[in-house]
Amino acid sequence: MKLVGRIPVEPLDDERLTNIERRIVTGASEASVMRPVRESRIPMVLGFAIIAVVVMCAGLAGWRLRGADAPAALAQEVPLQIQTADHRSTLDIGDARIESTPSTVYTVTRPGGDGVLVAMTRGKVELEVGKRGKRAPLVVRAGDTDVVVVGTHFTVDFGDGTGDVDVRVTEGVVRVVRHHQETRVAEGQAWKTQRGLIAIAVEVVELGPDRGHSGSDTVEIDLSKAPDVLHDRVAKIPDSRIASAGSNAGTASHQVGPGPEDVRPRRLDSTSDPRLDLKTLIRTQLVLPALDVKEPDPTKAISIYRNTAAFQKGDEASLAIYSMAVVQALKLGRTGDAEQTLELYVRRFKGGPEYLAALWLRVRITCLRDFDNVCRQAAYTYLHEAGDTPTSRIAERITMSR
């Protein structure tokens, strides 16, 4: 049975095609100015009827349950002891989700009815807590340390239950209370018993020559000893702990050739001046190099990238377009063209492999030109997308710069 090419397609005549085209052009222009409104499949009367029935049922249920205790599974003050076996487990208590690593032991109670106390014996928990509004805060107690939460996402590592406590906040803010001393730990920061408040930065480790080896490492920046530079709105920050990890060897293989500006990552010298100019700091941050196409001439390299982008898709196209922007900006100094290419990249490859690198390159280009609104907007976008990285701390400073 061979049917390919044997079923003739009856062509549409020109008049029909013109009519369809006209209707599509009209429909498309309408779609571009307004979001499509979903037609309700339920007639309005039926909708009202359903709502009425639901309200009646809710009223009846409320009447039947009047005087009963709060319905939440953990509303009672009876402690609920959790002991995680040899796999991660998740406990949903309604107003928070507690995920625990293997061998974690903790107890959940609701002191005062609406508060939550997670008392840890050992192990590590990760919590996602909804906004608590006027309810009493959720407290994680690890030994002599209390982590007070109003609505956030964080982890508390109590190790074997005898040592230090490690609190890491990925979203929102928590208060850590120990020995009557309170520390506010914000998103991207951590708190350790011995070290106090620290900033956690995720740093991308060098990409291998085949781009298959990438990873991340965390860099801890002591904030308790350093000046509060992230909030003083002055364009100087200490550089001592924001060092680039990884070797330059892998990066060098991606170079397109010598150009007006070296894009290799440079290490910041921890013994150098603790304060650096913001522009200098931007220059020192890693720019993901362009794809090595063994072409020393940047213009020819751009042609190669352009061809790759034309005939490839997905990751290959993403890398080619990003590489085009890198060479335009850093080899040819055509920052305007590079910005346009990056705009195209950001629109088309949101979340792509070089997405963050493209956002950072945009920050670099715009902010080395001037700390204006364009630069701040680019920095804000990077900050929003990148989360916690060394460069996002710089982006944060840029957004606060005047």
């Binding site: 390919v4 044997r6 003739p8 397609v9 209707r23 599509i24 498309a28 222009s29 779609a31 005939f311």
Partner: protein, 206 residues
């Protein structure tokens, strides 16, 4: 430069530029129409379906993320439109009906005119069998066996696994072979006697 051109064209479409919309439609209409035709057969709703497919494309154009090529993405939208149409209509599609007298086995003439007529009848009977299938099975079979797409591409287009798609194609083939066993015209169309396949060009079809 097709890929970059597509990206730029989509950007222009997203700004609501009518010329860009027209260009995108003209660039892809023949392929989409051919796919819909091969899936659904000669169909009186074809104009509406083509229009619906492209309206869907323009409404969701913002969702195209250049991970797949634009043509693949448009094909996926068109296949979804075809699927919805098949589901809405049940298993019966408004293909040209087969008259009772056509069902009778006509003496097989070997002249060119008779062979073309036989081909036309064969197509009708083939789609009559396809009308009895589930939308998913019909899509899998027609996209692979008639539209000539690979199993992997077909699976991607219909949103099923490769194994499920293979199974659907295989089952459909068995059904068609069963139907052909009882229908000489269909049998002759599927396995033409002699080396030549039955000629059936576009001009005559129209």
């Amino acid at each position: 430069m097709a890929y970059v051109e597509d990206v730029l064209l989509v950007d222009r479409c997203l700004t609501g530029e009518p010329a860009a919309t027209r260009e995108l439609f003209r660039r892809h209409r023949a392929r989409v129409h051919a796919s819909l035709f091969r899936v659904l057969g000669n169909n009186r709703d074809m104009d509406d379906l083509l229009q619906e497919a492209f309206l869907q494309v323009f409404q969701s154009l913002r969702g195209w993320r250049a991970e797949a090529s634009l043509s693949t993405w448009i094909d996926r939208v068109a296949v979804r439109v075809a699927y919805r149409y098949l589901s809405r209509r049940g298993r019966r599609v408004q293909t040209d009906p087969i008259m009772d007298d056509e069902l009778a086995v006509a003496p097989l003439d070997h002249g060119p005119g008779a062979r073309r007529q036989l081909a036309r009848d064969g197509v009708k009977r083939l789609y009559a069998v396809l009308d009895e299938l589930s939308p998913a099975a019909r899509l899998a079979f027609t996209l692979h066996e008639i539209d000539g797409r690979s199993i992997a591409e077909t699976a991607k287009l219909v949103g099923s696994s490769v194994t499920a798609t293979k199974l659907r194609v295989w089952r459909t083939r068995k059904k068609i072979e069963q139907a052909a066993a009882a229908d000489a015209v269909l049998r002759e169309f599927l396995e033409p006697a002699g080396a030549d396949v039955i000629p059936f060009d576009d001009k005559e079809a129209s």
